[in-house]
C-alpha cells in the first residue's frame, strides 16, 4: 500500500528502476526547460511592460543564429530521449531464454490464467520472484490490455492473435493488475492482483493449489474429443500432416513458402485451416472456430509442443 504522497508506484520488476531513471531524467530536463522559458517570459513581461501609451519599440526581425540554436538543441535533446527510450525498450522486449511460461486469456471482464502444470486462477496471478516469466495472451472477445504498474509493463491482448510479454519480478508482494484498454461495462472491474512469492513459497503454492490436468494433458484430451487424431496420424490413413515435432520446426507451404510453426500458426490452422496449407494436403479439415475457446486452443498447442518428434513424413525442409 502507498503511504504519504508517493510519486512512483512500487518498483517490483527487473525493468522498473530503469524506466523510472529515464522518467526522472526526462522530468528533470523538462522542469529545467519549463522554468527557463517561464522565467524569461516573466522577466520580459515585467522588464518591457508598456510605460507610456505611445511608445513603439524598435522592430527585430529575427536571428538565423538563434533560430538554428533553438531548433538544433531541442532536436539533439529529443534524440537523447529517443535513443535511451528505444534502447531500453529493445533490451526489455524479448524474454531471456528459459523463461517460464504462463498463459492468459482475457474476456469480458476477467483475466483467466493457466499455469502449464494445470493450476488455474482468475484475476490472480502467482509468480515467483527472481525468475523470468513469459505470458502468452489471447482474448475471447474485445481488446484488453494486461498492465502491472509495479512492473512497468503493459501489452494489449488483441483478438485473433497471440501477444506476449514478459517480466522478472524482483520483490515479493502483492501488486495491482489492471485492464488498460477500455473493454466495455465492467472495464474498471477487470482488475486483479499479482502475487510475487519467494521461489520456495511459490513451489509450495503450486503444489497446494487446486489443479486439474496439466495443459498438455488437457490438450491431448481435446485432441481426441474433437477427433483431430482421426486425420493427424502417421499411418497410411493419415489425411492430415503428422503433428509430432511440428512445433518450432520449418513447414513447407503450398506455393513454396516456408515458415516456422509457432503458436500463432498452429492457432490459425485450427481456426482457419485453409489459410496456410502444408504442401501435399488439401483443405479437407473443417474450421474449429466456435467449438474450442482460447484456453482450449492454448492447451492443444501445449499438447502439440509436448509431442516428441517422430516419423515425420512431411514438412522436413
Amino acid at each position: 500500500m502507498y503511504r504519504g504522497f508517493p510519486l512512483f508506484p512500487e518498483a517490483a520488476s527487473s525493468v522498473a528502476r530503469g524506466v523510472d531513471l529515464l522518467y526522472l531524467f526526462m522530468t528533470a530536463i523538462s522542469v529545467l526547460l519549463s522554468i527557463g522559458i517561464f522565467t524569461v517570459i516573466f522577466y520580459f513581461a515585467l522588464r518591457y511592460r508598456r510605460r507610456h501609451p505611445d511608445e513603439v519599440p524598435k522592430p527585430i526581425h529575427g536571428s538565423l543564429k538563434l533560430e538554428l540554436f533553438w531548433s538544433i538543441t531541442p532536436f539533439l535533446v529529443t534524440m537523447i530521449f529517443f535513443g535511451w527510450g528505444t534502447t531500453l525498450y529493445f533490451r526489455n522486449y524479448d524474454p531471456p531464454p528459459g523463461a517460464s511460461e504462463i498463459f492468459v486469456v482475457g474476456k469480458q471482464w476477467m483475466w483467466k490464467i493457466q499455469h502449464p502444470d494445470g493450476q488455474r486462477e482468475i484475476n490472480e496471478l502467482h509468480v515467483p520472484s527472481g525468475r523470468a516469466i513469459k505470458l502468452t495472451m489471447a482474448t475471447e472477445d474485445v481488446i484488453h490490455s494486461f498492465y502491472i504498474p509495479a512492473f512497468r509493463v503493459k501489452k494489449d491482448v488483441v483478438p485473433g492473435r497471440y501477444t506476449t510479454m514478459w517480466f522478472q519480478p524482483t520483490r515479493p508482494g502483492s501488486y495491482h493488475l489492471f485492464c488498460a484498454e477500455y473493454c466495455g461495462n465492467q472495464h474498471s472491474g477487470m482488475i486483479g492482483r499479482v502475487h510475487v512469492m519467494a521461489p520456495s513459497e511459490f513451489e509450495a503454492w503450486l503444489a497446494g493449489a487446486a489443479r486439474g490436468k496439466s495443459m498438455p494433458e488437457a490438450g491431448e484430451e481435446l485432441f481426441h474429443r474433437l477427433g483431430c487424431f482421426t486425420c493427424h496420424r502417421a499411418d497410411v490413413s493419415g489425411r492430415g500432416p503428422v503433428l509430432e515435432g511440428v512445433f518450432g520446426n520449418a513447414v513447407l507451404l503450398q506455393g513454396g513458402r516456408k515458415l516456422i510453426a509457432d503458436e500463432a500458426y498452429l492457432r490459425e490452422s485450427i481456426l482457419n485451416p485453409g489459410a496456410k496449407l502444408v504442401v501435399g494436403f488439401r483443405t479437407r479439415m473443417p474450421t474449429f472456430a466456435g467449438q474450442i475457446n482460447e484456453e482450449g486452443l492454448m492447451q492443444i498447442i501445449a499438447y502439440l509442443k509436448s509431442l516428441p518428434p517422430k516419423k515425420r513424413l512431411d514438412a522436413e525442409p
Binding site: V56, F82, V158
Partner: protein, 533 residues
C-alpha cells in the same frame, strides 16, 4: 444615427439561417459550438463527480462509460475541431486578406448545415441511450460488442467531417485566390499561415476518417468482416485508419491556436513577430510531420518493434517546430512594449500550458516510458494540456481579442482578467494531478479505482469545479457586453492587420474599398532594425 453593419443590416431568422456572409456564419458556428462545449462540459462534470470517490457509486458503469465517451465525442468533433477555424477563421480569414468573403459563400453556409446535421445525429444518439465506445471507437468493441448508439454517433461524426473538409477547401481557395493587391505570401498574418496548414490537414485527413466510419458501419450493420477477427478482419487495421486521421486532427485543433497566439503576442507587445518565416514554416512542418506519427498510439498493441521505433523518432521530430514557435513567441517579447490586457494573459497561459503539454508528449513518444503510461491518466493529462490548455486558451484569447470587431462592443476588462486567472488555476489543479495519477498507474476510463488514488482524484475534481466557473464567467459577461458593453472603436488595441482597418463591427462587404497592402505583417514602426543583443 446608427451606422449599418453586418449585424444590423437585416433582422429575423431568415436573414441568419440563409446568410452567405462569412461573419454571420462565424456567429452561427459560435452559438452552436458553444452549445456543444457546455454539453461536453456537463458530461465532464459527471465524470469528475463520479471520480471523487473510489467506488463507482454515483452512477452505473454503463452510464459512466457513456459520460466519458460523449464528453470526448462532443468536445473533439463538435467543439475543438470547428472551434478556431469555423468561428475565428471564418470571421477573419477574408478580413485579414482584404477580401469581401470566402471564395465559396454558399459552400460555407452548407458546411454549417452539415455541422448541424452531424450535431443532431450526435444529440439523438446521446438522448437515445448514448454511446459507450470511447471517442476512439476501437473495434471489435464498437463493431460487434457495444449495445449503444454507435451508428448514430458515427453518422454524426461522418457528416460533421464533411463540414470540416468544406471549410478547409474554402480557406485554401480563398487564401490562394483572394488576397488583396500587394498581400504576398510572406506578408500574410501568421494566423493565415496556421489556417492554411490546418486546411491542408482537414482536406487530406478527414476523408480517411470518413472511410473508416463507413467500414465500421459495414461491419456493424452488415457483418462484413473488416475489423473483427471472428469475421476474418483485423482490429489493428482500425487503429491504423483511425489514428491516421485522429492524430493529425490534434494539429487541426492546435495549429489555429498557434496562429492566434502569434497575433496576440505581437499586438500586445507592439512588436514585429520574431522569426516570421520560421513560425510560418513550422506550421507547414507540423502539418506534414503530423501525418507521419499516427502509430505512436499503438506502441503496446503488438505492432512490430521496428515500426514503433520509426514512429517514435518521427514523433520526436514534431517537437522541433513546436519548440521553434514557443521560442519565437518568447523572443518577440524581448524589448517589446507589453501591456497586460486579457488576450495576452491567455497567450501567456497558452505558452505555459502548451509547453508542459508538449514536453509530456515527449514522454509518450519515448518507447520505454509509453509502455508504462500508455492508456493511463498520464495520457489524459497530456492531451488536455494540449487541447484545453492549448487550443481552448487560444480560442478564448482570440475571442477576447477580436470581440470588439465581432460584436462592436468591449468586454469588461476586469472580469475578463479575473476569469483568465481562474481558468489558469482551475486548469492546472484539474490536470496536473493526473500526470501523477498516470505514472502511479491509474488507467483511464475507469469507473471505479483503488483507494490510494483518491487524494489526487479529489484534487482534480476540485480543480474541475474552479475550471467550470472560469468558463461560465466569460459566457455571462460576453453575452452581457453585446448589449451593455462600451461601443468598440475600430482598432481598440492599436493592432496591425487589415481587419483592424475597417469599422467595428464591419460592414457586410468588410471594406469600403479593396485595401492595398504595401508592407509586411506586424509593422508597428518602420525603422531600421535594432541589433539583437
Amino acid at each position: 444615427m446608427t451606422r449599418t453593419h453586418y449585424l444590423n443590416v437585416q433582422y429575423g431568422f431568415r436573414s441568419w439561417l440563409l446568410t452567405k456572409d462569412h461573419k454571420r456564419i462565424a456567429l452561427l458556428y459560435l452559438a452552436s459550438i458553444t452549445l456543444f462545449f457546455f454539453l461536453g462540459g456537463a458530461f465532464a462534470v459527471m465524470v469528475r463527480l463520479e471520480l471523487v470517490t473510489p467506488p463507482g457509486d454515483l452512477m452505473q458503469a454503463e452510464t459512466y462509460n457513456r459520460m466519458f465517451t460523449m464528453h470526448g465525442v462532443m468536445m473533439i468533433f463538435f467543439f475543438l475541431i470547428p472551434s478556431i477555424p469555423a468561428v475565428l477563421g471564418n470571421f477573419l480569414v477574408p478580413m485579414m486578406i482584404g477580401a469581401r468573403d470566402l471564395a465559396f459563400p454558399r459552400v460555407n453556409l452548407l458546411s454549417w448545415y452539415l455541422y448541424i446535421i452531424g450535431g443532431v445525429f450526435a444529440l439523438v444518439a446521446a438522448v437515445s441511450g448514448g454511446v459507450d465506445t470511447g471517442w476512439t471507437f476501437y473495434t471489435p468493441y464498437s463493431s460487434t460488442y457495444s449495445n449503444s448508439a454507435v451508428i448514430a454517433t458515427a453518422v454524426g461524426v461522418f457528416v460533421a467531417g464533411f463540414s470540416s473538409i468544406l471549410t478547409g477547401l474554402n480557406f485554401i481557395v480563398t487564401i490562394h485566390k483572394m488576397r488583396a493587391p500587394g498581400l504576398t505570401w510572406f506578408r500574410l498574418p501568421l494566423f493565415i499561415w496556421a489556417h492554411y496548414a490546418t486546411s491542408v490537414i482537414q482536406i487530406l485527413g478527414t476523408p480517411v476518417l470518413a472511410i473508416t466510419i463507413v467500414l465500421l458501419a459495414a461491419e456493424r450493420l452488415a457483418g462484413v468482416g473488416i475489423f473483427d477477427p471472428k469475421l476474418g478482419g483485423d482490429p489493428i487495421l482500425f487503429q491504423h485508419l483511425f489514428w491516421f486521421y485522429s492524430h493529425p486532427a490534434v494539429y487541426i485543433m492546435i495549429l489555429p491556436g498557434m496562429g492566434v497566439i502569434s497575433e496576440l503576442v505581437t499586438c500586445f507587445s507592439r512588436k514585429k513577430i520574431f522569426g516570421y518565416g520560421f513560425i510560418a514554416m513550422s506550421s507547414v512542418a507540423i502539418a506534414v510531420l503530423g501525418f507521419l506519427v499516427w502509430a505512436h498510439h499503438m506502441f503496446v498493441s503488438g505492432q512490430s518493434i521496428y515500426a514503433s521505433m520509426v514512429f517514435s523518432v518521427l514523433s520526436f521530430l514534431v517537437a522541433v517546430p513546436s519548440a521553434i514557435k514557443v521560442f519565437n513567441w518568447t523572443a518577440t517579447l524581448y524589448k517589446g512594449s507589453i501591456v497586460y490586457m486579457t488576450p495576452i494573459l491567455y497567450a501567456f497561459g497558452f505558452i505555459g500550458l502548451f509547453t508542459i503539454g508538449g514536453l509530456t508528449g515527449l514522454f509518450l513518444s519515448t518507447l520505454a516510458i509509453d509502455v508504462h503510461v500508455h492508456d493511463t491518466y498520464f495520457v489524459v493529462a497530456h492531451f488536455h494540456y494540449i487541447m484545453v490548455g492549448g487550443a481552448v486558451m487560444a480560442y478564448l484569447g482570440g475571442i477576447h481579442f477580436w470581440w470588439p470587431k465581432i460584436s462592436g462592443r468591449m468586454y469588461p476588462e476586469g472580469w475578463a482578467r479575473f476569469s483568465a486567472l481562474v481558468l489558469f488555476v482551475g486548469f492546472n489543479l484539474t490536470f496536473f494531478p493526473q500526470f501523477l495519477l498516470g505514472y502511479l498507474g491509474m488507467p483511464r476510463r475507469y469507473h471505479a479505482y483503488p483507494e490510494e488514488f483518491q487524494v489526487l482524484n479529489v484534487m482534480s475534481s476540485a480543480g474541475a469545479s474552479i475550471l467550470g466557473v472560469g468558463y461560465l464567467i466569460p459566457m455571462v459577461y460576453l453575452v452581457w457586453s453585446m448589449r451593455y458593453g462600451k461601443p468598440a472603436p475600430d482598432n481598440p488595441w492599436g493592432a496591425k492587420g487589415l481587419e483592424w482597418t475597417t469599422s467595428s463591427p464591419p460592414v457586410t462587404e468588410n471594406f469600403e474599398q479593396t485595401p492595398v497592402v504595401t508592407e509586411e505583417a506586424y509593422v508597428y514602426q518602420v525603422e531600421e532594425e535594432a541589433p539583437v543583443g
